[in-house]
Symmetry: C2
Subunit: 219 residues, 2 copies
Amino acid sequence: MRLVVARCSVDYIGRLTAHLPLATRLLLVKADGSVLVHSDGGSYKPLNWMSPPCALVETDTTWTVTNKAGEQLVITIEAVEHDSAHDLGVDPGLVKDGVEAHLQRLLAEQIQTLGDGYRLVRREYPTPIGPVDILCRDPEGLAVAIEIKRRGEIDGVEQLTRYLDLLNRDPLLAPVRGVFAAQEIKPQARTLAQDRGIACLVLDYDALRGLDNKEDRLF
Amino acid sequence: MRLVVARCSVDYIGRLTAHLPLATRLLLVKADGSVLVHSDGGSYKPLNWMSPPCALVETDTTWTVTNKAGEQLVITIEAVEHDSAHDLGVDPGLVKDGVEAHLQRLLAEQIQTLGDGYRLVRREYPTPIGPVDILCRDPEGLAVAIEIKRRGEIDGVEQLTRYLDLLNRDPLLAPVRGVFAAQEIKPQARTLAQDRGIACLVLDYDALRGLDNKEDRLF
DNA sequence: GAGTACATTTCGACG
DNA sequence: CGTCGAAGTGTACTC
């Protein structure tokens, strides 16, 4: 990895055209040839970049980074403040514990969160347009389809609506009720759901996890 | 901006939990206190990070970065290879020329792409839930609403459907047909559009731009 | 500040 | 390898 701090201007010509006026920035060149241009603020997203695989050609004042698709990142350098190279080796990679998959598993295990007498049919219940997160039956034996999101927004309600349309065509299932479950449900999504007769359920991740732990403690 | 190359392990506890085993990485501390952890490969996305606003507390061997929501990034440092600080100043920012806005402008200018006799009413035609990209009239004088995307996916069809519902309530416009236009239309989106009587139009960006150029060449 | 749409999205999973 | 959906998405824009 090479770190360069330089006064430079940058042009990108590819899927769009973008220009960065002259200023001091960090140029980060990774081992695979990819280049990131960072300023001293903003988010983790660089101002400009070129993803690998790509090739860097360097002259006195100009770096030209090109990829196979012909996209170009041209960095014009006026002054170099810092330039150092470092051998990092290969990174062992990240261990993640995701949220939505975890929520789905927890809710399936604790389907009584919806009320006493609910029974799980299965997770990832297939439909022609993709699996619905959970299918279960209420105390009266009627089918209930659950869509789970971390954040409940309008798209999720649309998605559940499509699943319900399809599931309700199956005479073995119909009528199928919908439940929109999320850690947080945006007001607009809630309104749309209510308008369509879909129930909303706010999930308490910690509580679900806590119940899980409590069960563990029985051993 | 501070650049540190160090052998370290990293833990993030917040919206999810993640762990990075011991390895040599770049730690980038920006002026606003945000921290990025980069390896020597991958894309522009850091392995781990903390977005501003956040606070960094540093001891001998441990950096703890915390934000207002209580999310924590803990970096345990075993050895420091490089440590330097640089004053970059404020970045003047990026000048962009996007694609979707350009597509909209080109199609509005060349509304005959839909067929002879089409007339533009206006771009960004207002509705209560937001402006529809283009409203025009067909050779018979009937209203046509166009939704433009770079990539046509299912969400765009839903969006256009909502616009059409609303526009068709206006007796001065109804009946309004829908056209879903994109550089590329996904099969699922096309199926949904057809099911709803919405026409699909694949846009050729280069051709639209080319026609534009041809006009320029007349001068 | 919330809501929405776009992104040079990136990333992972699945067929 | 494409398709599809999620992201600790970020970001700009509107209301």
